[in-house]
């Protein structure tokens, strides 16, 4: 299967996502320039972390109107796999591919550190290699990662199993202290109803090598590949 890493102006996480897929997973991957109008030939699109358009106005707002995003939206509607990481998650909510929105962390500051994620749903292409309630160690690096949805939508997300990751403590409890940014219901990652689009604030591409402190992020990418192979 072939991965595509979208390159938005200003973003920097493209490099890290590309490195992980190519050098660690050894899977085919190419960069896709933001002005492209087609994403043909790709099987999974990665919207990377970083600061597209300097995160000006608000994270993801300006990138959402890059030409390539229309193609990403079509691709997603046709069932293509899309993973948005951090800023990429913001682009996906801005583009309406995922519910809710991300805004200023409750402490207003940028935070860079490891977090513990609890896997809430293993019935997605991104998490089928994982166990329900499994704990993952994956870092965050953001100042606008506070996930918000209204109560009605939250209920719908719960009912549909769209909540994929929650921030938790070492014991798997979704405590307030474990929530780094104030996200509603400790949500760290959500998928769409059809589960082919996942957005998450933590950076799995930064947790792909033991020397970087964790390989837990790799399992998400491995799930994608396994899912894909199963589908062929």
């Amino acid at each position: 299967m072939k991965f595509g890493v979208i390159v938005f102006p200003g973003s920097s996480g493209d490099l890290d996502a590309y490195h992980l897929v190519k050098d660690i997973l050894g899977a085919p991957v190419e960069y896709i320039w933001h002005e492209e109008r087609s994403v043909q030939g790709f099987d999974c699109l990665l919207l990377p972390g970083g600061s597209s358009y300097g995160n000006y106005l608000r994270g993801g707002a300006l990138a959402r109107y890059s030409p390539v995003v229309s193609a990403v939206v079509d691709f997603a509607h046709q069932g293509g796999l899309v993973l948005g990481i951090a800023n990429g998650f913001q682009v996906l909510t801005e583009a309406g591919l995922l519910p809710g929105t991300l805004y200023t962390n409750t402490d207003t500051r940028f935070r860079c550190h490891f977090t513990t994620l609890r896997v809430e749903n293993t019935e997605t292409p991104f998490t089928r290699n994982l166990d329900r309630k499994q704990l993952l160690s994956i870092p965050i690096a953001h100042d606008e990662g506070n996930y918000y949805v209204d109560a009605a939508t939250l209920q719908k997300l719960e009912a549909n199993g769209q909540i994929v990751f929650r921030y938790a403590d070492q014991n798997g409890q979704t405590t307030e202290e474990a929530n780094p940014n104030g996200s509603v219901s400790n949500i760290a990652g959500v998928c769409n109803e059809t589960r082919n689009v996942l957005g998450m604030m933590p950076h799995p591409e930064r947790a792909g090598e033991a020397v970087l402190g964790s390989t837990d992020g790799l399992t998400i990418f491995k799930s994608i590949i396994k899912y894909w192979e199963g589908r062929q």
Binding site: G13, D16, D143, R206
Partner: protein, 731 residues
């Protein structure tokens, strides 16, 4: 012209005469303005040049020493590391967020100008006490500004240092350091060569911001100081500029390139032409401006950020513009390289300034300011130890030291920095030096920035020397081989003989340490006039050092790793409390002589520590600095919450010297007991004193001296106090 005109611009009467001589006539207003910024202290180093010449600047690895935008040092595999530190003190005092942000932006440009990809940022910060409201504001905003720029451009901020002292109350220090990597054959210099070659200005539009910034940096701050229009950082544009320039350089499309920093276009055109032995003919109406009606004076002197000047061949001109366009950037051909060394600046064809490039860039006067040993040294030097009462309760003293913002964890700040970007950070903030792997090789870089300015105040020579040694010790404790330094020299007004004396002494101390430790100076920055309302800061010569790990897997961190390990102290302790954090915090005295430093011993220590790490003998290494032995051991227990029992003998020492003294050339190691004999053999060979002082384990830190317990605290308690030291002072 009337004397007020040049004096207003900060030029001396004899400088004005020199200008007339260089031109063979009276300058016009624009020409005078150009001279005033280029001959300002900030750009010309006129007060420091002669002294800086005494630095050792060569070595087998040095590809580019001082004089270019940044230094370059070879690291094998066809690669080189490019790095530099720069101050942004005055802008940060006035507008802390933007001042710090543009400081980061400026130093990043210095690195990619050389054709290097920036891979890491560090910073060195100084503030007044956090009990002051304005200081808290400065601290929060400066940290946020550094984060705001570095994080957005996607370069990890991996290390630095932060100190608090009353002397920085009105004049905080913000020094930013950037480190980049390049393939040696891609090295580009800021030279204008090739007669007729187009000169291209790329990046942000030119606004009226930062007018006279160079001059502003060259005066003392006071209530009345009129700040130039503040520059706002635009990390998004800089990221595009960085990618576009590196693409061009890597494809060999650029002849010469230089960023626009202090003194804006004036500096870039004159330096590039001067270095290339050429001239330039520049048409200012072509410069894209942000505001209408900007005058030639404003266009030539504005310090708008995120701009680059490039010299390319005519064949490449169209391609270069196309690349900038693809990155969404404006670029314009504004002139040509000419023969004969003359800068001709035109507006709509008409010449508005005509100056020999060399005279602007290189012929600023060189001064040898008067220097005189400050009187205060007579009173500070003497520290009769008998007058210092030894504490009764060492537990309390240790807790107080750990809570002191100078020693307490800086996590509140560095957690705001994206130190993991580029997924190459093997050791981020929180240990001794940061370690960054170099993709595609087995190597890694160790990076640090250090200075103890209290030492520099009490003895500038020793302070400079110790700063280099401490930086090297941090590199070594991380497993690196010290390669070279960049220096950020922050001082008060050079017009005061006492301050100039401090400056000369510090440079001499740095030079001596660099010679012995084999770490040449490849560049740096001088920031004078760090005074507010007549009060100078402590001399603060910050050392940014780069080290190399030939094997990236053989790095080391400061924290204890396993229970039952032996704890070893390398180096000897003496009754040295002068300039210590203990003396200042507990006894309220900034006094005495800084601890003695024997560079030969220091070097031997480095050898032992580095070899021990390489041979896999030790599991942790941490140098002793502020707070001495007790603080260093406590710091080792925090990360893995692994306690220790330490047993030492006092000998002839005072108890407080033993626990909190800051004697140099000491390192705490932890190692599996079966590795001790190998370590002992190594230490013996190099004549480095080795003391087994305890064992790791448990959840407490206990320190016994001659069998009596002096410290007994849970690691959790010590750690909490250390972690809360800074946040608890913020609302």
């Amino acid at each position: 012209m009337r004397p007020e005109e040049w004096r207003k611009l900060g030029l001396r009467d004899d400088e004005y005469d020199r200008i007339k001589e260089a031109l063979g006539r009276e300058p016009n207003r624009l020409e005078l303005g150009m001279f005033s910024v280029m001959w300002s202290e900030h750009c010309s180093y006129k007060n420091s040049k002669a002294v800086l010449k005494t630095f050792p600047t060569t070595g087998p690895r040095v590809l580019q020493g001082p004089g270019e935008n940044a230094g370059v040092v070879e690291i094998g595999d066809g690669l080189a590391v490019c790095f530099k530190i720069e101050s942004h003190n005055h802008p940060s005092a006035v507008e802390p967020y933007q001042g710090a942000a543009t400081g980061v932006g400026g130093i990043i440009r210095d690195i990619f100008t050389m054709g290097a990809r920036p891979i890491a940022l560090l910073n060195s910060l100084r503030f007044g006490p956090l009990t002051d409201e304005r200081v808290r504001y400065l601290f929060e905003q400066i940290v946020a500004g550094i984060a705001g720029y570095g994080n957005r451009i996607g370069i990890p901020t991996v290390g630095g240092e932060i100190y608090f002292d009353r002397c920085y109350q009105g004049n905080p220090l913000v020094n930013a350091m950037c480190v980049g990597l390049l393939e040696i054959d891609k090295l580009r210099l800021g030279k204008a060569t090739g007669i007729g070659n187009p000169v291209i200005l790329a990046g942000a539009r030119t606004g009226r911001d930062g007018m006279g910034g160079a001059a502003f940096a060259s005066v003392e701050l006071s209530e009345e100081t009129e700040a130039p229009d503040i520059q706002v950082g635009d990390p998004f544009t800089e990221k595009l500029l960085l990618e576009a320039c590196l693409e061009l350089i890597n494809n060999g499309d650029v002849e010469g390139i230089q960023d626009l920093g202090a003194a804006g276009l004036t500096c870039a055109v004159s330096e590039m032409a001067s270095r290339g032995g050429t001239g330039m003919d520049v048409e200012l109406s072509k410069v894209p401006c942000r505001e209408e009606g900007m005058t030639p004076y404003e266009i030539m002197l504005a310090e708008s950020q995120e701009r680059m000047l490039l010299v390319v061949t005519p064949e490449k001109e169209a391609k270069v513009h196309a690349v900038f366009k693809r990155w969404g950037l404006t670029s314009t051909t504004i002139g040509r390289v000419t023969e004969g060394g003359m800068l001709k600046i035109r507006m709509h064809g008409e010449i508005v300034a005509e100056i020999p490039a060399h005279s602007l860039a290189e012929e600023a006067p060189v001064y040898y300011p008067e220097s005189k040993e400050p009187a205060y040294l007579k009173t500070t030097a003497d520290l009769p130890l008998a007058t210092i009462e030894e504490p009764e309760d060492y537990n309390t003293v240790l807790l107080e030291l750990l809570a002191s913002p100078n020693i307490a964890s800086k996590q509140w700040a560095w957690q705001q920095f994206d130190y993991m970007a580029r997924t190459s950070t093997l050791v981020g903030p929180g240990s001794d030096a940061a370690v960054i792997r170099i993709r595609g090789t087995n190597k890694a870089l160790a990076l640090t920035a250090d200075c103890n300015s209290r030492y520099a105040y009490l003895d500038p020579f020793a302070g400079g020397k110790i700063a280099v040694a401490e930086a090297a010790r941090n590199i070594v404790c991380s497993g690196g081989e010290p390669l070279a330094i960049t220096d950020g020299l922050n001082f008060g007004s050079p017009e005061k003989p006492e301050i100039y004396w401090q400056f000369r002494q510090a440079v001499a101390g740095i030079s001596e340490a660099c010679r012995v430790l084999g770490t040449p100076v490849t560049g740096g920055n001088v920031s004078f006039y760090n005074e507010s309302n007549g009060e100078g800061i402590y001399p603060t010569p910050v050392i940014g050092m780069v080290g190399l790990l030939a094997d990236a897997t053989k790095y080391c961190t400061s924290s204890f790793k396993a229970a039952g390990d032996l704890i070893v102290l390398l180096g000897d302790s003496a009754d040295e409390l002068g300039g210590s954090e203990y003396l200042a915090l507990i006894h309220g005295r900034v006094q005495g002589k800084p601890p003695a430093l024997d560079l030969a011993k220091e070097k031997a220590l480095h050898h032992v520590v580095r070899t021990a790490i390489q041979q896999g003998l030790v599991r942790s290494a941490h140098d002793l600095s502020e707070g001495g032995l007790a603080v260093a051991v406590a710091e080792c227990t925090f990360e893995n919450q692994l306690g220790a029992v330490v047993e030492v003998e006092k000998g002839v020492l005072r108890t407080d010297s033993l626990l909190f003294g800051e004697s140099q050339s000491r390192v705490v190691l932890s190692l599996a007991p079966d590795k001790l004999s190998a370590l002992q053999a190594l230490a013996e060979e190099e004549n480095v004193p080795l003391h087994v002082i305890g064992r790791t384990g448990g959840d407490r830190l206990q320190i016994f001296i001659d069998g009596n317990q002096y410290v007994d605290q849970t690691v959790a308690q010590l750690r909490t106090v250390w972690q809360e030291g800074i946040p608890c002072q913020l609302p």
